[in-house]
């Protein structure tokens, strides 16, 4: 829903101050065809997510080892648990020694730490961020709010069960869990990936319609594209 004010500003901006690199232009695509690009327009991939088939034998083991040893976490804190993540970077807990580090954008990360309760408004942003992450991707859910709603179990605006909207690899129980518990959770996630059980992104692709139906049930102003990575 675009605000009237923003629209007016955009129109004015287009007429008066449009930079040359933002003008509509023709470019040649890799296959040689000429396409028109509007830099101010949002472009989305309309394709459904695909299942990523595991490779065979030692190759998959090696890949899983590599994935498990470089967990890059999306810097998106959703609830009160986001305050537990900064200590992990400090020398006291130092998650770098486990190969875990924070990344600023979903395109660079493969672990999403849902840190606490999710209101419907935040859930919408969380889903968009999750869908922009490249596969294979993993979700760690922090605190009792993501398991059964926690102390917000009867709230009108926070969800109760996260696994109905996005698939969860590891739950860390507690309200809130300490950073040590988070490190243990990362260790558990590593075990899961190395044993070839980190398949939740594929599960999301398989049950895509069910997840989308659940999401659309509570996100009423669905103004984002259905498939957006």
């Amino acid at each position: 829903m675009e605000r009237e004010f923003d629209k007016a500003i955009k129109e004015m901006y287009k007429e008066k101050f449009l930079a040359p690199e933002n003008e509509v232009r023709q470019v040649s695509a890799p296959d040689g065809s000429i396409i028109e690009i509007d830099p101010l327009k949002d472009y989305f991939c309309q394709e459904r997510p695909k299942e990523l088939k595991p490779r065979k034998g030692v190759v998959e083991d090696f890949l899983n080892w590599a994935r498990a040893e470089s967990l890059w976490v999306l810097g998106f804190g959703t609830g009160c648990g986001s305050i537990e993540i900064p200590p992990l970077v400090t020398p006291r807990f130092d998650m770098y020694r486990y190969g875990v580090q924070m990344r600023p954008t979903p395109r660079q990360s493969n672990v999403f730490v849902i840190s606490g309760y999710l209101s419907v408004k935040t859930l919408k942003r969380a889903i968009r961020s999750y869908e922009q992450m490249p596969s294979p991707k993993y979700i760690i859910a922090l605190g009792s709010c993501t398991i059964n709603g926690g102390m917000y179990w009867d709230s009108y605006n926070t969800i109760n069960r996260l696994d109905h909207y996005i698939p969860v690899d590891v739950y860390i129980a507690g309200c809130m869990p300490r950073p040590e518990a988070l490190l243990a959770g990362f260790g558990k996630l590593k075990e899961l990936i190395k044993s070839g059980q980190g398949e939740k992104a594929n599960e999301y692709a398989r049950n895509f319609d069910w997840y989308k139906a659940n999401q659309k049930k509570i996100i009423r102003d669905w103004n984002m594209p259905d498939y957006n990575w």
Binding site: M1, R3, S119, V120, K121, K124, I147, N148, G149, W153, D154, S155, Y156, N157, T158, I159, N160, R161, H164, N214, K217, I218, I219, R220, D221
Partner: protein
């Protein structure tokens, strides 16, 4: 403080004066005299800063109570003006010409209580509940537990105790 309250009584016929502390007083004022009163307090009496605007739902009386709390930074004194408005088609005059920041409170009250402030900027846009279709959730006739059960897939197996009963059984098991 006393002089200010007396002056308010003379000028705006405020009632139910309660002075809770040296620097905090509550007054009740008629709906159509509320905005003139806070305008006078802001322009003439030095109460230049808005602390908050909030609402209480008096379901049984069929009223909403708005509280404008305003502050005099020089004297460090606060006056809170209580205004009763009807619960049916609740509407109140907007005060965004006095304080720019009050539009955020008014937007929140529109969304959470359904109190309309015609003319307030962005008052009809959704604030935190995007696409809400039920009755406004801060109204007391909204059953948040029922809504949550119907909407958010409650996980079965949750147990809860009535605190009074539970403590009684723990502390006085023989009674």
């Amino acid at each position: 403080m006393v002089e200010i309250l007396k002056e308010l009584e003379d000028r705006f016929q405020v009632t139910d004066l309660v002075q809770q502390k040296d620097h905090l007083a509550f007054v009740s004022v008629d709906k159509n005299k509320a905005i003139p009163m806070i305008t006078w307090l802001k322009d003439q009496a030095g109460y230049t800063s808005l602390t908050l605007l909030t609402a209480v739902d008096w379901l049984e009386d069929g009223k909403f109570q708005l509280t404008y709390m305003i502050n005099n930074p020089k004297k460090n004194s606060q006056i809170a003006a209580r205004v009763m408005i009807d619960r049916e088609n609740a509407t109140m005059e907007s005060a965004h010409h006095l304080w720019e920041s009050i539009r955020i409170y008014q937007r929140e009250l529109k969304e959470m209580f359904g109190i309309d402030f015609p003319g307030s900027p962005e008052v009809d846009e959704s604030f935190i509940l995007e696409g809400w279709v039920d009755i406004p959730p801060y109204r007391r006739d909204f059953d948040t537990k029922k809504y949550s059960d119907e909407t958010y897939f409650p996980r079965p197996g949750r147990q809860s105790n009535d605190p009074a009963e539970y403590m009684k059984s723990k502390m006085y098991p023989n009674e």
